[in-house]
């Protein structure tokens, strides 16, 4: 604790310097049952990128919400230019020039890009919206972000990555002095991240102060000037980023050695468990989302799927899970053809999917932890007519301890859990169906380092138990560390296969770009279109 106190004192002294624009001083925030922030002081330096890191539940988001006026601190104060300010609502924050890009996409899907960018800040002339001016500015903002998005397009019609760009454009439209970015890159491609970074540097040059939160640690070091680490609601470090490396951050974040992040036990790979032949998913209006995909998965094997967004990886597991009845192709499980096409039949056959969007597809937010877990396998706990409470209870308790889900009481609502623990509940729900093929679609997205490591451990253990694991990830390091074999997809087809030994970051990236580059675009209308967009 003394180390933390020293940091605290150092931060206090730093604040006396003139270049601190915004300062959260001794902030304490108490929620019923927990202290989210305990006496945290956070300095935002003028025209710098101030990085904030910590595991989920460390208090980053709470601190940001306080600075954005969404939450009020229990104790402590916020100083802007050395003067105390009160932020009672998001509107107050906007008035002081504090903008925020939220972690969850906060857009109105039913409105157009322009309408979203100017929501609650409409450009109006004598009370009437000036659509022309709005569209003009929106177009400029989008161009500044080097994107090709129609300002009149509905947000619901955009890809997630594009939606995130809109979210960023929305913040830029506000002419802010301080811009908070909470995981702005979680849905962006590498090229889009580059553009974002360029915009951030440009903003810095204009004197805008950035607060940047991300789980991608390399990214933080690349863009950050100052780094602040929170752990369990306490401030543990506050330093300039020069001379800091990833292990240093992880150590501060989790308080232990980062080498243990990827826990991969050696496991024996068995016989072919699943054979997929010519799996094809037509795209409406021609072409394929999945173009005659065939592969094999062995028992006890972790098969990684790498690819860019939209490469068809999620479509593939959706098909296997039975969520796309229009797909064609043949599946053989242990040599026997799987006939059923519906989700229920596929679950019965032994397929289970842990979906990419945990909040939307994986959980019922109004139900408790226990009920979420049991949802997919209720018929196992039936006694002719009734659900047997005791049997349910046993199953739930067993999985909570097996997966070490941190929960005070299984009757607790699912939303009160941290992201990592929610993800474990989704995995538990899948395991309760007694599957043979477990499909994990981006299982570590948006969860903290500690929880990631636990998810990897679970994966590894399941492989050891003879499950076949399909593991989709966009994080190269993860996929390289965890997979026994890696398939790379691009444009609906498998474009590369690598064993654990042959795989490297370069090879995966190269295979994932097949069909995207100019050299291959000759016969692809799509490829040409893309080039236009970038030029």
């Amino acid at each position: 604790m003394s180390e933390a106190q020293e940091t605290q004192t150092a931060v206090m002294e730093a604040a006396l310097q003139e270049d601190v624009i915004l300062r959260a001083e001794n902030i304490t925030k108490v929620f019923p049952g927990t202290v989210a922030l305990d006496q945290v002081t956070f300095n935002v330096y003028t025209g710098k990128v101030n990085v904030l890191v910590g595991e989920n539940g460390a208090g980053k988001s709470t601190l940001m919400k306080i600075l954005a006026g969404v939450e009020q601190p229990t104790r402590g104060r916020v100083l802007l230019d050395g003067k105390e300010i009160r932020l009672r609502s998001p509107l107050d924050a906007v008035r002081y020039g504090i903008g925020i890009i939220y972690q969850e996409l906060n857009l109105c899907p039913n409105l157009s890009v322009v309408d979203n960018i100017f929501l609650a800040r409409e450009l109006a002339q004598r009370g009437v919206i000036d659509k022309k001016a709005e569209k003009q500015q929106a177009r400029e903002l989008v161009r500044r972000l080097e994107q090709n998005i129609d300002p009149d397009a509905l947000v619901s019609d955009l890809r997630i990555g594009q939606q995130q760009i809109v979210e960023i454009a929305k913040a830029l439209a506000q002419d802010v002095r301080i811009l908070i970015m909470d995981e702005p890159t979680s849905a962006l491609s590498a090229a889009e991240v580059e553009v974002l970074f360029r915009v951030i540097r440009e903003l810095k040059a204009h004197g805008v102060s950035i607060i940047y939160i991300s789980h991608k640690l390399e990214e933080l070091l690349q863009i950050g000037d100052y780094i602040t680490v929170l752990r369990d609601g306490h401030l543990v470090a506050h330093e300039p980023t020069d001379g800091i490396d990833v292990p240093w951050i992880i150590e501060r974040m989790v308080g232990r050695n980062p080498a243990a992040l990827f826990t991969r036990k050696d496991h024996k790979i068995g016989d072919v468990l699943l054979r997929v032949e010519d799996l094809t998913l037509p795209r409406h209006g021609g072409g394929y989302l999945l173009d005659h995909v065939s592969f094999e998965l062995r028992a006890g094997e972790i098969l990684g799927f790498y690819g860019l967004m939209g490469a068809g990886r999620s479509d593939l597991v959706d098909c296997l899970a039975g969520a796309r009845p229009e797909a064609s192709g043949r599946l053989f499980l242990n040599g026997q053809e799987v006939k059923g096409k519906s989700v229920a039949e596929r679950i019965a056959a032994g397929f289970v999917l842990v979906p990419e969007d945990r909040q939307r597809d994986g959980l019922v937010p109004t139900l408790s932890v226990a009920h979420n877990m049991l949802l997919a396998s209720l018929n196992k706990y039936m006694n002719k007519l009734f659900l047997q409470k005791k049997k349910e209870q046993q199953a739930v308790d067993k999985l909570i301890s097996d997966l070490s889900i941190r929960v005070a009481n299984p009757q607790q609502t699912i939303t009160s859990l941290s992201g990592g623990n929610q993800q474990k509940v989704v995995v538990a729900k899948g395991l309760l169906t007694e599957p043979r093929v477990l499909m994990l679609d981006e299982p570590t997205r948006g969860i903290d380092v500690g929880a990631k490591s636990e998810i990897f451990e679970i994966m590894s253990r399941l492989a050891l138990q003879g499950y076949g694991v399909l593991f989709i990830s966009s994080e190269l390091k993860e996929i390289l560390a965890m997979s026994d074999r890696i398939l790379v997809m691009s444009k609906g087809a498998i474009t590369g296969e690598f064993t654990r030994e042959e795989a490297s970051e370069e090879k995966l990236v190269a295979a994932s770009a097949v069909g995207h580059g100019p050299a291959n675009s000759g016969n692809h209308n799509n490829g040409r279109k893309n080039q236009n967009g970038r030029s």
Binding site: A68, V70, S89, P90, L91, V94, I100, Y102, N106, L107, C108, P109, N110, L111, D115, L119, A120, R121, E122, A124, G127, V128, I129, K131, R139, R143, N148, I149, D150, A153, L154, S156, D157, L158, R159, K170, R283, H284, G285, G287, L289, G310, N525, N526, K529, N530, N532, G533, S535
Partner: protein, 357 residues
């Protein structure tokens, strides 16, 4: 650099089958209206004569007015079940003021307000009832369905209490009190078109302007689409929502006045089940009950479809029971088509995304 023009997202392409499908589905309410008109004209020659059209428009006007107010509410994802009762209560307020005036016991006098004053008082009363619903919904966090269901009973109850369940008959005022002329609201016309139709048209234009051109209208859509996002963007959720119920209350009061004036009497049961017709018109017009999607123009067409369907079936002598069956089927069918269109749109969007990548 003319990048925006150089990278057109909507490429010009040949009209495909999907385009035609899309067009038909988008304009379905309008197509339905044309279909209904054509069918009835062929079955009954006098259907399309001017006199009949005016009568039908008059019938449509009241429902359309309620539906315009309802559109605002439903766009935010709410619902207003109290409109019919507010119609009844404001009719009784207006009728009472004309026939009985305001008794001021302290001075021992009865004040008979001018007709215009009465109209204004009634409109304010209706708006206030909407405001109460809005406040109950926003400040006390009551579901709109429940809050307005409560208002449905309360307002209807007060409508009965006002005159012990009796009608205020013959509400034409008396010249010596200076409160005559109320009946002109329902019977009068301008350029040969009934006032109620003008009022509907004016309200519709204003509502269209508000929903498409004012920040308020955009906030209404935003709340219906993603309330949290709207809140975090700085939209004043509670105020906006309350205003929406006030608009609905105001429209209901207007309808109460028109009907009382047309009948030259105020009956406490005026407007019973009107809320259902209004909701039906909104939904038929393509507004999603989940909020965020829809338009005033659609609502107007929806109101016309329901009105024309009703009057046409009456003219053909179809039994009132069958009328209900047909109306119900049409409403459900409309929503089914709505779903089909939404799915199709999603598919097209997906396709465009793929093309862009």
């Amino acid at each position: 650099m003319d990048a925006a023009k150089a990278t057109p997202i909507k490429r010009s392409r040949r009209i495909t089958k999907t385009d035609i499908q899309q067009f038909l589905l988008r304009g379905r309410a309008f197509i339905a209206l044309i279909l209904v008109v054509v069918v009835f004209t062929s079955l009954s020659p006098q259907f399309l004569n001017a006199e009949n059209l005016v009568i039908m428009s008059k019938h449509v006007a009241t429902n359309a007015l309620l539906a315009i107010g309802m559109t605002f509410v439903i766009l935010t994802g709410g619902i207003d079940l109290s409109v019919g009762s507010i119609v009844g209560l404001t009719a009784m307020i207006a009728g009472g003021l004309i026939n009985e005036g305001i008794r001021i016991d302290a001075l021992g006098v009865i004040v008979y307000p001018h007709t215009w004053t009465i109209i204004v008082i009634s409109l304010i009363a209706g708006t206030l009832m909407g405001a109460i619903s809005g406040i109950v919904i926003t400040r006390f966090n009551v579901a709109p369905f429940i809050a307005t269901l409560g208002m449905l009973y309360v307002a209807r109850g007060f409508a009965g209490l006002r005159n012990n369940g009796y009608t205020f008959p013959n509400i034409i005022g008396r010249p010596e009190f200076g409160n005559t002329g109320f009946e002109r609201l329902g019977a009068g016309d301008f350029l040969g078109i009934n006032y109620s139709i003008w009022i509907m048209a004016i309200f519709a234009v204003i509502a269209w302007f508000v929903t498409t051109r004012l920040p308020f209208g955009r906030h209404v859509y935003a709340i219906g689409g993603n309330e949290r996002s709207a809140e975090l963007s700085g939209v004043r959720i509670n105020t906006t929502k309350t205003i929406v119920y006030m608009i609905s209350g105001f429209c209901s009061a207007m309808v109460g006045l028109i009907i009382a004036s047309q009948l030259v009497a105020a009956h406490p049961a005026t407007g019973e089940t009107f809320e259902l017709n209004a909701i039906a018109a909104v939904v038929l017009g393509g507004t999603s009950l989940a909020g965020g999607r829809g338009s005033v123009g659609g609502t107007l067409i929806g109101a016309f479809v329901i009105g024309v369907l009703g009057d046409g079936l009456v003219m053909l002598g179809v039994s009132s029971f069958w009328q209900k069956v047909i109306k119900g089927a049409v409403i459900v069918l409309a929503v089914i088509i709505d779903q089909v269109q939404a799915r199709m749109q999603e598919r097209i969007a997906l396709q465009q995304q793929q093309e862009q990548m």
